[in-house]
Symmetry: none
C-alpha cells in the first residue's frame, strides 16, 4: 500500500513551527501496520499545493493532506483540490451546524468568514470535527483520473491544528483506513517504555536473549529521547502475537525496574494509577522545576483523587517560611543539597497532609552554577511515613531539557519507592 502525506503551510517552509503532524501520523499508521511511503511539505501557495497533490494522485493509494481548511485567505487547500479534481463545492448542512454550534457554545458571534469551512467538494464525505470548526474531508478518486494501480484511491483532508487533527484521526480516520484498506496479514506492534538506561545499554542487555525470536521473525527498534528509551517489538503473520508477547516478557524481565509502561503511556499516568490503586496521596515541593512535576501529575485525568497540591519554593525564603527548611541547612549545605531536598519533602508532606511527597532542588542554568555545584546538578527527595531519602542526579542540558529530565527522574523515583514499599508490605 502506497500512502503519501502532504503537509501544507507557509509556517512550515519558513521554519516557524515543527512539523509534528508528520511524526504523529506516521507513528499512528506504523502502529496499525502501514508505513507512509513519502511525506511532502509545501507552502500555502496554489502551484506548490496543486503540483504536490497531482503528483501524489499518480502514485498513491491513499493521500492525506493536513492544513489549509481554515477560514483565512491563506487556507486554499480545499478550493485547489476541488478544482484539480473538477468537483463543485457545496455547502454542507451538518458542517455548517457544527460551526454555528462551536460559536454558540462559547457565547461568541459567528464571524461570517468562518462559514466557508462548511463548503465540501461534491461526492466527498464530511468528517465531523469535535474540537474545531473545519471538518475533515474524504474524497473518493474516480477511476478515470486515478493512478494506474487497482484498488480504491482516496484523498483525505485534515485540519491543521493538532488538537483538532489528532482526535479526528484516531476516532474517524484510522477506522476509515482499516475499512477501505484492510491489512492482508496481521501486524503486531508493542512498545515498551523504559527510563534510566542508555540506548546502547538497553540493546546490549536484551539483544543477545532475543536472537532466537529474531530468527523466527521478530523485529526490534530502539528510539532514544532524553532520559528515555522505547523498545519497539513488531511481528507479522499468524505467529506474530505470540512472538511479540514472548519478547516483551523477556525484555520486562531483563530491564525491570526500568520498564514503566507500554505504548504511549507516560510515567505520570502509571504513577497516578498506582497511587489510586493503593489509595495513597502525594504532594510536591519544587524549586528548579518551577511547577513542572505538579503540572505533569495533574495532566493525568483523575489525579485529583491522589494529588493534594504543591509548593513551588523558588526563593529560599519560601523554602524556610512555607516548607520549614531549617535556615541552618541553607547556611551549611546550601539550597541545592541532599539535606535541603529531604527537608523540602518532609515539609510539604506535613503541610499538605499527604502519604507521600516528592521534592526537587537544583541548578537549571544557564547561570547560577559553580565548580562545586555545576549547572545540571539536582537533588530529588522522596518522603513517606516510613522514611525520607534524597538522590543526586546530574542533567547537564539546556534549561528546559534539564527541567524535563529532572521531573522525569522525580516521578520515576516515587513510582519505584511506592512499588518497593508495596512489595515489602506484601512480603
Amino acid at each position: 500500500m502506497n500512502i503519501e502525506l502532504i503537509n501544507t503551510g507557509s509556517e512550515l517552509m519558513l521554519g516557524r513551527v515543527l512539523n509534528t503532524h508528520q511524526q504523529w501520523i506516521c507513528r499512528k499508521l506504523a502502529d496499525s501496520g502501514r508505513v507512509v511511503t513519502r511525506q511532502v511539505a509545501v507552502e500555502d501557495e496554489a502551484n506548490a499545493i496543486r503540483d504536490a497533490v497531482a503528483e501524489a494522485l499518480e502514485r498513491a493509494d491513499l493521500i492525506i493532506t493536513t492544513g489549509g481548511l481554515g477560514p483565512t485567505s491563506d487556507d486554499i487547500t480545499r478550493d485547489l483540490v476541488a478544482q484539480l479534481l473538477g468537483l463543485e463545492l457545496r455547502e454542507d448542512a451538518s458542517a455548517l451546524a457544527n460551526i454555528e454550534g462551536f460559536f454558540r457554545q462559547r457565547g461568541r458571534p459567528m464571524p461570517p468568514s468562518t462559514r466557508i469551512q462548511a463548503m465540501v467538494p461534491e461526492g466527498g464525505d464530511v468528517i465531523h470535527n469535535a474540537h474545531g470548526t473545519a471538518p475533515g474531508l474524504a474524497i473518493p478518486i474516480h477511476p478515470s483520473r486515478a493512478k494506474a494501480a487497482s484498488g480504491p484511491q482516496w484523498l483525505v483532508m485534515l485540519p491543521g491544528p493538532p488538537r483538532e487533527l489528532r482526535p479526528m484521526f484516531e476516532k474517524q480516520i484510522l477506522p476509515f483506513i482499516e475499512k477501505h484498506y484492510p491489512n492482508n496479514e496481521s501486524f503486531v506492534s508493542l512498545t515498551l517504555r523504559t527510563t534510566g538506561m542508555g540506548e546502547s545499554l538497553v540493546e546490549e542487555r536484551i539483544a543477545p536473549e532475543l536472537r532466537e525470536l529474531l530468527n523466527r521473525g521478530l523485529g526490534i527498534g530502539y528510539c532514544a529521547r532524553t532520559g528515555e528509551v522505547d523498545v519497539r517489538l513488531v511481528s507479522k503473520g499468524s505467529d506474530g502475537q505470540k512472538l511479540v508477547q514472548e519478547a516483551a516478557l523477556i525484555c520486562r524481565k531483563l530491564l525491570a525496574p526500568h520498564v514503566y509502561g507500554e505504548g504511549d503511556e507516560l510515567i505520570e499516568t502509571e504513577l497516578v494509577r498506582e497511587l489510586i490503586r493503593q489509595r495513597q496521596s502525594v504532594s510536591v515541593a519544587e524549586s528548579c522545576t518551577g511547577g513542572l512535576v505538579g503540572h505533569r501529575i495533574t495532566n493525568v485525568p483523575g489525579s485529583s483523587e491522589v494529588f493534594h497540591g504543591g509548593v513551588v519554593a523558588y526563593h529560599n525564603d519560601v523554602k524556610v517560611s512555607t516548607l520549614g527548611v531549617p535556615e541552618s541547612v541553607l547556611a551549611t549545605e546550601g539550597a541545592v543539597s541532599e539535606a535541603c531536598a529531604r527537608a523540602m519533602a518532609d515539609g510539604v508532606r506535613r503541610l499538605l497532609k499527604s502519604d507521600w511527597a516528592i521534592s526537587v532542588t537544583g541548578i537549571a542554568g544557564p547561570g547560577g552554577g559553580s565548580t562545586e555545584k555545576p549547572v545540571g546538578l539536582a537533588y530529588i527527595g522522596v518522603a513517606s511515613a516510613k522514611e525520607t531519602r534524597a538522590v543526586r542526579v546530574m542533567n547537564p542540558f539546556d534549561r528546559e531539557t534539564f527541567k524535563h529530565s529532572t521531573s522525569q527522574q522525580a516521578l520515576d523515583l516515587l513510582r519505584r519507592a511506592i512499588s518497593a514499599q508495596s512489595s515489602a508490605g506484601n512480603g
Copy 2:
C-alpha cells in the same frame, strides 16, 4: 530560486523521531531570504530515495539531502546519488584523514566499516565534518543532465546527526549558498505574536487596513495555535523593509493589546522581562493548572530575579489552610468562582510576599463539570497592592489544551495589568 530539501530515514517514516532538520534548515534559509519550495521525506530504501532525488533534479536549483552518509548498511544515499548521476566514487584523502583523526583523538581503533565514508562522487566537493566522521558533499550538476532553467545547479548532501549537521550548515553550507546563489533582492519577514483573539477576527480587523500595502507587494500569513495567532508580514525588494514596518505599525495599532511580542518570543519571556524592568516580583496560586503557570515562568532564564514561588492548591483543604481562602467562600460560591480566585491571589501574594500574584481555579475535565459550572470554565485572578480582580474564561478543550490556554490567559492578564498600572503611573 527553487530549493528542495530531501530528508531520508526510516525512523522518520515510522514516526519514531521528529524531523527537526526540516524546521531548522528551513528557518536558517528563510532568515537568509530564501524559502524552501518543497521538503520531502522518504525511508532508507533505494527506489524511494532515487525517485525523490531524480524528481528534485528536474525542478530545483539547489537540492539538499540529509542522512544516509554513515557507515551502516542502511546508509545508502551517497551510493544512490553517484549511480543516479553516473559518477564514480573515489576515496578522498582529506575525508579519510578526518575519519582517522576522529578515532585517534578518542583513542579508539578505527572500525574498517567507517572507511566507506571517505568515498566521494567524482567532481564533488568535500565539506569537512568537525563533529563526526561522514563529510558533507556538494556536487555540481552537469548542464547536460540538469533542469531546463538557467543558472547553477548543486546537490548538497549532509550527515543526519543534528550536532554534525547544524555547525556544518551554519559555517560552511550557508556561505556556499550565498556565494553560488546570491540574493537578487532583499527579503524581509516579521512575525507579530497575538493572544486572546481568534484567527478570523484577527484577519477581519487588519486585512481591510492593509489592502493598499498588499497591492504594493506585502504578503500576510496567519498561523493559529491554541489561544494564539501569529501574523507574519513579508516583503521583497528595495521597498520591503519599509512596507513591513508600516504594516507592523498598523497591526500593532489595530490589535493592541493583543500583540505581546515579535518573532519567537513567548508571552512568559515578555512578562519576565517586564517584571525585571519594573523591579516587581510575582507569585502564583494554581488549582486546575497544577503548576503549569509556575513552570512556564521558570522556563525563562533569569526568572529567579522576579518569581518568588507558588502554591499548587489542588485540594480545597490546601486553598483554606495554606492560602487562607475563607471556608465561607467555598461553601457559598464554590472553589471555581470569582471570589475564590480573588482570595487565592490575595492569599499567595501575602504568603510569598510578592508585588503581584496570579491565581487560577477551574474545571479541567474530563470529569467534575456540571450544567452551572461546565468543564472548561475557569476564573483567573490578579492581585497587586492596588487592587485584586478576577475574570471568567471558558476553554472547553481536552485537559492539556485547557491547562495550556488557561495558563496563557493568566500570563497575559498579568502582563496587561502590569503594563496598565505602569501607564497609569506614568500618566
